[in-house]
């Protein structure tokens, strides 16, 4: 890295921090399950379904309703 000019270094540092923040956000959202709607929409677009996708509000209602019917366990 020594042959890179200081200028370039600072640019890449900023870029690296932004990237790290993005990765952290992506990871946290994924683990908690906050990205569920984005993924549902993506799936909906990709599979090219004719029916309009659920709105965000509808989706989260539907999600908790499904949890109601299929409870999952948490460990001790």
């Amino acid at each position: 890295m020594s042959d890179v000019s200081p200028e370039l270094n600072s640019v890449s540092l900023a870029a690296r921090i932004t990237r790290a923040a993005k990765v952290a956000r992506w990871y946290a959202r994924g683990v908690v399950g906050a990205d569920a709607y984005d993924r549902y929409l993506e799936h909906h677009t990709r599979t090219g379904c004719d029916v309009a996708p659920m709105t965000e509000r509808e989706f989260w209602r539907d999600k908790t309703d499904r949890q109601e019917r299929n409870p999952t366990s948490r460990c001790c």
Binding site: H43, R69, C75
Partner: protein, 757 residues
């Protein structure tokens, strides 16, 4: 290098698609051999320092070295052996997540995200509590069991069960048991799972109650989690739907505020008495809460609290790991104490074998995980081969949490540890009586010299430091862990004035996990119960989950089940933890026996007789442990160990009109007789159910050997059309395949799931 490359195979399932799987020889190159050699040496040094050198000042860092290096070696070699010789995952097969992808429950999820998700689902209060209690036998036996146990038993169970479930459309353990063992084995397994869940929930509640009784600060901050969760639920449903991270951050901030505010409540004259609750009162509150929480809509309480609990869980565990590394505490407990051999430990009775191995369940081998490894995670996993990092690797992480709990417990003052972990019936409850009791125990330092006499003032001061009226007789593990955590964390953040904050922080997060488990567990048990009930003639309506009356009836029965054991436990003159914790451990380990039995049967059916020892080894060990423990609990003539001996002793005395300590009156005598009867019956039921399952499995195995293998219920192969790497880091060949997908203008898996490769 060319030679290695030529052996890499990139497999396609469709000529028009880039490869969907990469098979690489697992030959070790020079640099990786060196790396593993160094890891091996470091681990050996760690073990040498804690097991052989010992001495007066053992540093907790050696635990971290011994554990982490052993995990890496175990993961690299033992899980690889299982993968290569037994499970043989094939990434050309679609997983349930890919096959049934619906954008909702079935969804291929980035392996690193899913690892976090799986870990958050398996880790709870269990790995934090067991090691704390087991510390009474010294740090060494428990640590060895946690690390060796996870490598050869716990992680093996989780990994293999997950693989079986992936090959069976993500079916649950109960269903797999029914499919592979037939109706009798299957029914015994389901009844076993159901009754085991009831005892698990009851004991977890006792752990919470022991931490919160007579503690207005704790009661207030834990009670506040309910309105906070409800607020989050309403926010997510009506105000800003789907803003999960946002509301979770608000929730965590409110939670921290509730912990701080707890001090004001504890110091306020009126509020102090409002939030000071006795054990029986708390038991009834928790029963009412458990019932309400599992009939209220999911969105209002369960879903938001789950988010909160995930945040707190991951955050706190990272914090504790950083704290241990920063503070590097010195161990106060000897490697092995007297209680390992004489069986007279105050936290739980009985000798090292078998009772240590049932006390530490989660962290070394946890049957409960089989319920999560089957069902939930297979519906989200991208590739069959990822089950190794998820199942085996996820359990290693939980084991590390258990090691940290052990470190926290053995680095607090021994007098404090034993004052907290002996029942009030034994230690007298006041600092003076407790100090006298501690001096009678004959405690020694890690180096073997007798400890100086216990100082009552120290016990009183320790309670004051953490903002409690008393910490004597606070059994159950959670308060001890909280003291250990506050000792470690105040050294990093905030100094001595923050001891009480960290103590209540730890209590709060343990209570949060446990209450989430109680709520989710009651729901799962309710579904299992109504499902079982619907098979009875005339009760088929119970099959319909949307039938409110049925849901209420089954919830009532399930809550009644664990609630009655809970009330029994909190009123037990002998101490609820002391009498019920063994039953909890036995139950959890018997669940593991059921899971391992199912795995063993499948391996036998597949004709892999040569490798059947891999699940058989932990199974035989687990059966030896649990059945010995059950046998002693049922047949031992020592009243402190055998439930029936206990019953006889008290019943005989009661008939003569005598009162035996620690019971104080006839009513308490009757309580002991009643409790030990119930506990004795439960021991017999658990052991009986497991023996049925094992007998059926043995019969299946014999048939399989005779026939040279039997058909299993594995689903047929569906070709995969997605690509993802096997483990945390993509290999060179896997990166090349990514480039091929990119060049073809296609996404290897869905866009939303796979950034930042």
């Amino acid at each position: 290098m060319q030679e290695v490359d030529s052996e890499v195979r990139k497999l396609k399932t469709d000529p028009d698609l880039p490869p969907v799987a990469v098979e690489e020889p697992h030959r070790m190159t020079g640099p990786s051999k060196l790396t593993f050699a160094i890891i091996g040496v470091l681990g050996a040094v760690g073990w040498f320092m804690i097991a052989i050198v010992r001495g007066e000042n053992v540093n907790a860092m050696w635990f971290v070295f011994a554990a982490v290096c052993s995990y890496i070696i175990g993961f690299r070699f033992y899980s690889r052996l299982i993968e290569y010789n037994i499970l043989k995952p094939r990434d050309t097969r679609a997983t349930p997540a890919e096959k049934f992808e619906n954008g909702k429950d079935f969804m291929p999820t980035d392996r690193r995200v899913l690892y976090g998700h799986h870990f958050a689902a398996i880790a709870g209060a269990g790995p934090l509590v067991g090691p704390v209690l087991a510390a009474q036998m010294g740090y060494l036996p428990g640590t060895i069991w946690i690390i060796v146990g996870v490598i050869f038993a716990g992680a093996v169970q989780d990994y293999m069960v997950m693989h079986l479930s992936i090959r069976r459309n993500g079916r649950s353990l109960g269903q797999m048991a029914r499919d592979e063992l037939g109706p009798i084995g299957g029914w015994a397994a389901i009844l076993g799972v159901l009754s085991i869940m009831v005892i698990l929930l009851a004991v977890l509640c006792i752990v919470v109650i022991n931490a919160l009784a007579e503690s207005p600060w704790g009661v207030f901050s834990v009670a506040m989690t309910i309105p906070i969760a409800i607020f989050m639920g309403i926010y997510l449903r009506y105000i800003r739907p789907g803003k999960v991270s946002e509301v979770s951050l608000i929730g965590v901030a409110l939670l921290l505020f509730a912990i701080v505010a707890g001090r004001w409540v504890a110091e306020h004259p009126t509020l102090h008495s409002v939030f000071t609750l006795s054990k029986p009162a708390l038991a009834w509150w928790i029963i009412a809460y458990g019932f309400m929480a599992s009939v209220l809509p999911v969105w209002l309480l369960l879903a938001p609290r789950d988010y909160l609990s995930t945040f707190m869980k991951v955050g706190t565990i990272v914090l504790l790991a950083l704290g241990i590394i920063a503070v590097r505490p010195t161990v106060q407990m000897p490697a092995i104490t007297e209680f390992a051999s004489n069986g007279k430990g105050p936290a739980f009775a009985g000798s090292l074998f078998p009772f240590l191995f049932i006390t530490i369940a989660c962290g070394a081998l946890s049957g409960f995980h089989a319920l999560i490894s089957s069902g939930t995670t297979p519906k989200l996993i991208e590739k069959e081969s990822q089950a190794r990092m998820m199942g085996y690797g996820g359990m290693l992480m939980e084991s590390f949490v258990a090691v940290m709990a052990m470190v926290a417990a053995v680095s607090i003052d021994q007098h404090l540890y034993f004052a907290m972990n002996s029942p009030v019936g034994a230690n007298g409850g006041t600092p003076e009586k407790a100090a006298a009791y501690l001096n009678s125990l004959g405690l020694v330092t890690p180096g073997g010299t007798p400890l100086p006499p216990a100082d009552p003032a120290m016990l009183a001061q320790a309670a004051k430091d953490v903002g409690e009226a008393s910490i004597i007789g606070r059994t159950g593990g959670a308060p001890t862990l909280a003291v250990g955590m506050s000792e470690i964390m105040h050294g990093v953040f905030g100094g001595p004035a923050w001891k009480s904050f960290w103590y209540h922080f730890a209590i709060m997060f343990e209570a949060l996990f446990i209450l989430t488990t109680v709520d989710a567990g009651t729901r799962v048990a309710r579904f299992m119960f109504s499902d079982a009930l619907s098979n009875v003639r005339g009760l088929s309506r119970f099959k319909d989950p949307s039938w409110t009356v049925g849901a209420w009836i089954s919830t009532f029965i399930v809550v009644g089940g664990w609630g009655s054991i809970l009330v029994m436990g909190v009123n037990d003159p002998l101490g609820g933890i002391n009498t019920l914790y063994p039953l909890f451990g036995i139950a959890n380990q018997l669940l593991a026996a059921i899971a391992l039995t199912v795995v063993f049967s499948v391996i036998m059916k597949q004709g892999l007789f040569k490798w059947a020892w891999v699940p058989a080894l932990p199974l035989v060990w687990d059966l030896a442990v649990t059945l010995t423990a059950s046998y002693q609990k049922i047949f031992s003539s020592v009243p402190a160990i055998g439930y029936w001996a206990q019953r006889d002793r008290y019943a005989t005395a009661l008939a003569k009109g005598e009162v035996l300590a620690p019971a104080k009156n006839t009513q308490q005598m009757e309580q002991v007789v009643f409790n030990s009867t119930v506990q004795g019956v439960l021991s017999i039921v658990f052991a009986g159910l497991v023996l049925v399952v094992v007998a059926v499995a043995a019969w299946v195995a014999v048939r399989a050997v005779k026939a040279g293998g039997l058909p299993t219920t594995e689903e047929p192969d569906t070709p995969s059309r997605i690509f993802a790497p096997k483990s945390f880091l993509a290999t060179e060949a896997e990166k090349e395949v990514f480039e091929e997908w990119k060049a073809a203008g296609k996404m290897p898996v869905s866009v939303g799931t796979h950034h930042h490769e």
